[in-house]
């Protein structure tokens, strides 16, 4: 194996692109818009959020109470359609303090995403959400939190009907 041979590839720098030193074909007219039907499980979950409730679903075989709800248990592979209300409190399973946005640009005020294990669901069942009303340096794994809801008239049946979860003192 000759490690001195020339390895293929011509690296371009950001400047090459900015100063248009190379020819490029731009395709900015990507009109990819989607309208997804939520299905029964998520549809019911989102309806519950609009009403100020978090819903889980129970599997008739393994009896797990799962959140977010789903129409079949992926372990037992059977139908699950018994919806069960769970609490809107939980425990922080893990969290991050994020200074970048989706497009990798920076933000000064960080978001605090967290996986929150929901009380009333089977242990370990969690949802992704944001933490609020808390300083980043005060967040701890194992912290107890409670949902802060939008007022009923502002809710639309979306995960953001819960603004964030805040620490419970």
């Amino acid at each position: 194996m000759d490690w001195n041979q020339k390895f293929a590839g011509t690296a371009l720098s950001d400047e090459d692109i900015k100063k248009k030193k190379v020819l490029m074909e731009e395709w900015f007219d990507l009109r990819l818009n989607y309208n997804w039907s939520t299905g029964v499980a998520i549809g019911t979950y989102l309806k519950g959020l609009k009403a100020g409730k978090i819903l889980g679903v129970r599997c008739p075989k393994c009896e797990r109470i799962m959140v977010p709800p789903r129409m079949f248990c992926e372990e037992c592979f059977c139908t699950t359609d018994t919806f069960v209300p769970v609490k809107d409190t939980g425990t922080v399973n893990t969290f991050a303090i994020c200074y970048i946005k989706t497009d990798a640009s920076r933000q000064k005020v960080p978001q605090i995403p967290a996986v929150i294990e929901i009380d009333g669901a089977t242990k370990g069942m969690g949802i992704l959400h944001l933490l609020g009303e808390v300083k980043p340096e005060q967040v701890k794994i194992g912290m107890k939190v409670k949902a802060v809801w939008k007022p009923p008239e502002e809710r639309t049946g979306d995960i953001t009907d819960i603004r964030y979860f805040k620490p419970v003192r």
């Binding site: 020819l23 074909e25 731009e26 990819l32 818009n33 309208n35 039907s37 989102l46 309806k47």
Partner: protein, 156 residues
């Protein structure tokens, strides 16, 4: 017990909208770039010839797909060719209606082994498979170094 349930009320069906928030810009490999620069600056077409099998690629490519060797020889290609196939469309890429029907065709330039897809600058009724066509380029000062520097192919 199945999970397919009949929906009794339309209002029960919830939809959520979303989109894909990215854009794309493609770099060109060397041979392709030289083809478009030559077209933009001098209005000439070029092709790449495989030394092994003699296949002439327009635009030129880095490697011959059949022989799997580098294509190094570049030749000049005339701007005239034959219309090998064509079709007509009334809508654009997004499904919006066009002001007038547009003919697209596959054109084999003289000496090329490959075909180019492009607009045919004639109504469908005047098009015939096998007819001679010639490239019409966009005004030199308006060319960008893109396939759209060719306005289309008109009957020769």
């Amino acid at each position: 017990m199945g999970i397919v349930k009949k929906v009794e009320r339309v209002e029960d069906v919830k939809f959520m909208k979303g989109s894909f928030p990215v854009k794309f810009a493609y770099t060109m490999p060397e041979h392709h770039e030289k083809f478009f620069v030559e077209l933009k600056k001098k209005g000439n077409f070029t092709g790449g010839v495989c030394d092994k099998c003699g296949k002439v690629y327009v635009p030129p490519v880095m490697f011959c797909e059949e022989c799997f060797v580098r294509v190094k020889k570049i030749v000049k290609i005339p701007a005239t060719g034959i219309l090998e196939a064509f079709t007509v469309t009334d809508t654009n890429a997004h499904g919006d209606p066009l002001p007038a029907p547009q003919v697209f065709g596959l054109i084999r330039l003289q000496g090329a082994s490959t075909v180019l897809m492009h607009k045919v600058l004639a109504p469908a009724a005047k098009c015939k498979i096998g007819m001679k066509v010639k490239a019409r380029l966009v005004a030199a000062n308006k060319r960008k170094g893109s396939i759209t520097d060719i306005e289309g192919f008109a009957p020769a």
